[in-house]
């Protein structure tokens, strides 16, 4: 057994026996991992994805090490605005993933369920609630959540406010995309900025926010270019690389460092060979621990995930001159907001420009907003003649993902794609003969 594995087991045992007394050890593990990803990056994946992992590891380890440096958020919280106050946004979804590094998700999930939290709730939320409620993880001074993209947000943050005394700002994101909605949300964002000013004793410099928005626009354009290249070139990464990218696009968006990384990836990918396998557009979360999916997609020359809707969930060109309205517009027009046909359209746009061979949607346990529309998306993809596979499982709790079921479905689907290719080739060959 590796030293790292032993350490993980030790921390897990300690936490389960005495939640709250092992936090320093958990933190030490995160810091050690930060160093590891910098000094000994994972082999077999591209340099860009190595750098991305190192960046996300330091982001979380550094923030957790300084409790006054961050607020809790959800993945759609306006991190650009929070960043203007010199604060980091640690999203609860992202933290749950990090806790699962210690294989503690089942302990935390059971803990939450045993206090009465619904077993059918999203496992990311259950992991987080269990981690905090059990006392295993310390709490920050403040938090913020949007109502987007699920019902769990308001309820989880409210529950933790009551139980652990972490006050939070709630941003109500309207369903409709119209000027009234944008005014309504922009006003809430302004109030939130005032709240941060008062709480943290710092004034908002609007120019900083404008600069963040300029960078954000460039980052989104750069990312689209990178996706384009990733659909043409073999760029080895792992399932978790895409999750890191999603975290970066939400929690570090608007920062120069993150833009520089994407630019580096654009340069780096050009050194890689042409990709000749099947191109997959991934919808929703990626169960990074799942063995079968790992074996098919990690650094695979046959099947490459070229983009995901959770990374590119907004295609908004933001107007820096009206920063609050720009932020509000971006959140409201996010593909996870509004009707499913809005989402299907945006996924359709992505598919049009990236031309994937197939779409895979992973229906994460407890995520009604995403799973609920999966059949509609499949219809849309059928119209576009793109084969789509719906997989059921859990993004974090392995007990809810049955490997046998996932394997059978995935393999059958990939066989179908490969057979389709054979047919096309033989058709061409037939033509040639003719």
């Amino acid at each position: 057994m590796w030293i790292a594995d032993k350490y993980i087991d030790h921390v897990k045992e300690q936490t389960m026996e005495h939640p709250g007394e092992s936090w320093e050890k958990m933190l030490l593990g995160f810091k050690a991992n930060k160093l590891r990803t910098k000094l000994l990056p994972k082999k077999g994946i591209s340099k860009g994805y190595q750098k991305l992992e190192a960046m996300m590891m330091s982001f979380v380890a550094d923030s957790l090490g300084k409790p006054e440096s961050y607020v809790w958020g959800n993945i759609f919280a306006p991190s650009e605005l929070i960043g203007c106050f010199g604060l980091h946004t640690l999203s609860i979804e992202c933290l749950s993933c990090y806790f699962s590094g210690y294989h503690l998700e089942d302990f935390f999930i059971d803990y939450a369920q045993n206090t009465g939290i619904a077993p059918t709730l999203c496992s990311y939320h259950k992991t987080f609630v269990g981690a905090i409620d059990s006392g295993a993880v310390p709490v920050p001074e403040y938090a913020v959540t949007t109502s987007l993209s699920c019902d769990g947000n308001l309820n989880t943050f409210r529950y933790l406010e009551k139980k652990k005394g972490v006050p939070f700002t709630f941003l109500d994101v309207p369903y409709r995309d119209d000027p009234e909605s944008i005014d309504y949300l922009a006003k809430q964002l302004k109030d939130f900025a005032k709240e941060l000013e008062n709480r943290f004793g710092r004034k908002l410099e609007e120019e900083k926010l404008r600069e963040a928005i300029r960078i954000e626009n460039e980052t989104r354009r750069a990312l689209m270019e990178f996706f384009q290249l990733q659909s043409e070139r073999y760029y080895p990464g792992e399932l978790i690389s895409h999750l890191y990218m999603m975290m970066g696009m939400h929690l570090l968006i608007g920062s120069q460092d993150f833009l520089d990384l994407i630019r580096f990836m654009i340069r780096d990918i050009r050194n890689y060979p042409k990709f000749v396998g099947k191109k997959i557009l991934w919808i929703h979360l990626l169960p990074f621990y799942q063995e079968t999916l790992q074996s098919y997609f990690n650094s695979s020359r046959k099947y490459q995930i070229i983009a995901s809707d959770i990374i590119m969930d907004s295609m908004e060109e933001m107007d820096e001159t009206k920063p609050f309205h720009a932020l509000a517009g971006k959140i409201i027009r996010n593909l996870y907001n509004g009707s499913y046909s809005h989402k299907a359209e945006m996924v359709g746009e992505l598919a049009k420009s990236l031309k994937p061979d197939a779409v895979i949607q992973f229906c994460h346990w407890g995520c009604k907003q995403s799973s609920g529309g999966s059949l509609l998306l499949k219809e849309k993809m059928q119209e576009m003649e793109i084969p789509m596979l719906i997989l059921d499982g859990d993004g974090i709790d392995r007990r809810n993902s049955h490997d046998g079921q996932i394997r059978t479905r995935l393999e059958a689907f990939l066989e179908m794609l490969d057979t389709g290719e054979d047919k096309e080739t033989s058709k061409k060959e037939e033509k040639k003969v003719c």
Partner: protein, 555 residues
């Protein structure tokens, strides 16, 4: 006619335009349509609404953005019925002025679209007259001399209230979104703005930002109830948060009741509600014997479970005179007869010697020779206390369900939780695995004790767990180790139930699975304490039922 589901829907607007409005309350037996059109993990209520709309001829449906499942329901309906008025009303979660202004704007826009759709017109003055005439709907109130029950949580259908009424309990309040009377605010100057303010000013549901105020309101209401039923709907997770929170501070007994809006679950709902009422007021709703058999003092308890039917005859000194355990066959009535004949024969008594018979268990209502029935929860409590008065927590694992019961020092039920929805964690699961391992059920527990390698069964569902076991067999794992892994899987499920009722010692295990030494050892390891198991763990419920019968006569 338009259908609607949410209390924030501006129903009166349409009514003033002469449109009939009907609140959709699904009464379905299956989710056949929903299974084709929606993902299975969508809230059962939303699936039920889809079934209703497919069945009935509505001209349209007014939905609100109340939750994720309803948002997806809208998408499905919109696609399914392009010619109908399927409208999604974007309802703010903030009830301050900004929210009211936005909602009023949304309502006005909806009116415009409905006018276009129906050819009807909306007249604000007519609307004002219409809402002025509306009477305040009847609210519930506490009543003396009976059990007062409050209902909280997610929308509750009428079946729950019917069971309460049948058991002569009074509904003191119903704070779910279907139980509250509508609040209509009349503002003659700003008619629609006033009306909107009233709508958003209703008792907030969990989707609203303001829901924090619920605590204070619940605290005030709770005073008028002896107990509270906290209702949640399967795959709707919002209310479970509140339940978890209220459990910490609300000083009223609370029953967590999850339903799925289908008729299939009504038996399970009944058992839980009746057991809850019994725990609140053990005497209140019991019939008195009518002069029958005052002299001869033998009573009987009969427990009709899914695996075994057990009968106990007790004398007036609370001594067990005889008991019988028979396997429940295809017909519970026949097995009950068999158990009755068997126990009478063993005791050397005839049916006439028995003064009173109390039935319990799932089949309790189908035993025609019983004088009354009491739920198995209360009977297990009473039975456990009888065998060992130190017991505070019971774990009962039967053939088709498992439950944890918390008792006070008098043997009265203080809290209970049941798992009767999934086979994992029950005797059935063990039977399945024993078959797969090709050992008898009795052997399974014994060989588990000889295990040398720790194997973890991770699947939470019995079907998946079985395939997991099959792959372990394929990997040449030892039977003993697999058996031990299965016993630990059952123990983990059981531990979850036990934790939810508080883990107070001493512990007792009852039901058929208590005879399995492998499971017993695994549970003991989990709770870090010994389990008291009586000689015949299957008759504890029947013994409790017999004790109930004796109590009739003051013994």
């Amino acid at each position: 006619m338009l259908g609607y589901i949410c209390k924030y829907a501006p129903v009166e607007i349409f009514q003033s335009m002469g449109t009939e409005m009907e609140r959709i309350e699904p009464e379905v037996t299956n989710f056949n349509q929903a299974e084709i059109r929606m993902h299975p993990n969508i809230c059962s209520f939303a699936k039920g609404v889809l079934e209703e709309i497919m069945k009935k001829d509505y001209e349209g449906v007014i939905l609100t953005t109340c939750c994720d499942s309803i948002r997806r329901l809208y998408d499905v309906l919109k696609e399914e019925f392009p010619e109908k008025f399927i409208y999604m009303l974007d309802t703010p979660r903030i009830t301050k002025e900004a929210g009211i202004a936005l909602y009023e704007q949304r309502i006005r826009r909806m009116i415009g679209e409905y006018e276009k759709f129906s050819g009807k017109t909306f007249d604000e003055k007519k609307f004002l007259e219409f809402i002025k005439d509306r009477e305040q709907e009847q609210q519930y109130a506490g009543k003396q001399g009976t059990l007062n029950i409050g209902i909280l949580g997610a929308r509750a259908d009428d079946s729950m209230k019917e069971i309460l009424r049948e058991n002569k309990a009074n509904i003191a309040f119903d704070l779910t979104c279907t139980g509250l009377g509508r609040k209509i605010l009349i503002d003659e100057k700003e008619i629609l703005a006033g009306y909107t303010r009233g709508l958003l000013g209703q008792f907030p549901c969990m989707r609203m930002e303001q829901a924090a105020n619920r605590d204070e309101l619940i605290r005030r209401f709770a005073g008028s109830a002896d107990g509270i039923i906290y209702h949640t709907v399967q795959f709707c997770d919002n209310y479970a948060y509140e339940y978890a929170w209220l459990k910490e501070w609300l000083d009223r007994p609370m029953l967590l009741l999850e339903t799925d809006y289908t008729r299939q679950s009504s038996g399970q709902i009944r058992t839980r509600i009746e057991a809850f009422l019994e725990s609140l007021a053990p005497e209140i709703h019991r019939e008195r014997p009518t002069g029958k058999g005052e002299k001869a003092m033998y009573v009987m308890g009969i427990d009709s479970g899914s695996t075994s039917t057990n009968a106990v005859i007790m004398d007036q000194d609370r001594k067990i005179r005889a008991f019988s355990v028979v396997r429940t066959g295809a017909k519970s009535g026949v097995s009950a007869r068999k158990a009755l004949d068997g126990v009478l024969e063993k005791a050397g008594l005839s049916r006439e010697d028995i003064s009173w018979i109390v039935s319990t268990g799932y089949g309790r209502v189908s035993i025609d020779f019983a004088d009354e029935n009491v739920t198995e929860i209360s009977c297990h409590g009473k039975g456990a206390h009888y065998f060992n008065p130190k017991i505070r927590t019971i774990l009962d694992i039967g053939g088709q369900d498992s439950k944890a019961i918390h008792l006070n020092e008098k043997g009265e039920v203080k809290d209970f939780v049941m798992n009767d929805k999934c086979a994992a964690g029950t005797g059935r699961f063990l039977e399945m695995i024993a078959r797969t391992l090709e050992v008898s059920l009795d052997e399974l527990g014994v060989i588990a004790l000889t295990s040398t390698e720790k194997i973890e069964i991770t699947s939470m569902c019995s079907v998946f767990a079985e395939s997991e076991v099959i792959s372990l067999i394929a990997n040449n794992k030892e039977k003993a180790d697999i058996a031990d892994g299965v016993c630990h899987a059952i123990a983990s499920k059981a531990f979850g139930l036990l934790r939810r009722v508080g883990l107070e010692s001493d512990f007792m295990m009852t039901g058929g699975v208590a005879k399995n030494p492998g499971v017993v050892r695994a549970v003991e390891e989990k709770i870090g304490a010994g389990l008291y198991i009586c000689e015949e763990p299957e008759i504890v419920g029947a013994a409790g039922a017999a004790l109930y019968a004796l109590e009739k006569y003051g013994f």
